[in-house]
Symmetry: C2
Subunit: 132 residues, 2 copies
Amino acid sequence: MTVSIPPNVNAATCPSRVVLEHVTSRWGVLVLALLLDTERQRFSELRRAIGGISEKMLAQTLQTLERDGMVLREARPVIPPHVDYSLTPLGREFADRVWALTRLVELRMPEITEAQEAYDLTRRERERAAAG
Amino acid sequence: MTVSIPPNVNAATCPSRVVLEHVTSRWGVLVLALLLDTERQRFSELRRAIGGISEKMLAQTLQTLERDGMVLREARPVIPPHVDYSLTPLGREFADRVWALTRLVELRMPEITEAQEAYDLTRRERERAAAG
DNA sequence: CGGGATCCTCTATGATACTG
DNA sequence: CAGTATCATAGAGGATCCCG
């Protein structure tokens, strides 16, 4: 298979690179996964479910994904405000793939951990040799 | 489908979250894609192919991916040094998925751009209404 | 409740210079 | 060539307060 990365993939301004970073960002991954699971969530529900995310970052992440057409925001004009977030069909498509990637990491975690330990071992030995 | 995010997915220390960030990081994505395409590359070849990455970040990204068992580093003890990087089977598995995600973004880019323009339009109108 | 605005911290990244 | 070490900085992200 040939990948043939387009020249402008490298540019920080490349539009698709930017979107890729949105969906794979620290909080983007979690928001997509959570919405994939629950279909429709309120702001504070998302915040509690994710745990450890600040209001600012949740709002920012949701806005970014909404702007990219991945998330649908429905605000009911009541007091107190009631806002529901859900995935658009486009968003579900991405959430599926991102979630698959997440599961793959978890599936392969034993091999990864083993590789890390092996790497750290040879590293420590090398350092000891350099010091001694 | 039920996702059922494990409770510790949120923790910044969650090992699989960390690995996920490695493979989806700004430079990780590009390194994986490039190695998927070329099978085996030298440090400076990668640097030139990616374009815009600093030596420091390339070295750091490669080390991280090597430590995670995704990238194989082969150093020939000659002068000047000759180091080849390639994907391990594990790394190829991840590179495939990451690359698929990248292609999906490019495939859906028209819809995404359209959504962004629509979002920006309603935003500007709202701001004008607030100002006027 | 769902944010916006502000201030502050810390980390990711870049630039540069040096070395085996 | 393939890095490492050091320094500098922008931007990500957090904490807090405020408001409709």
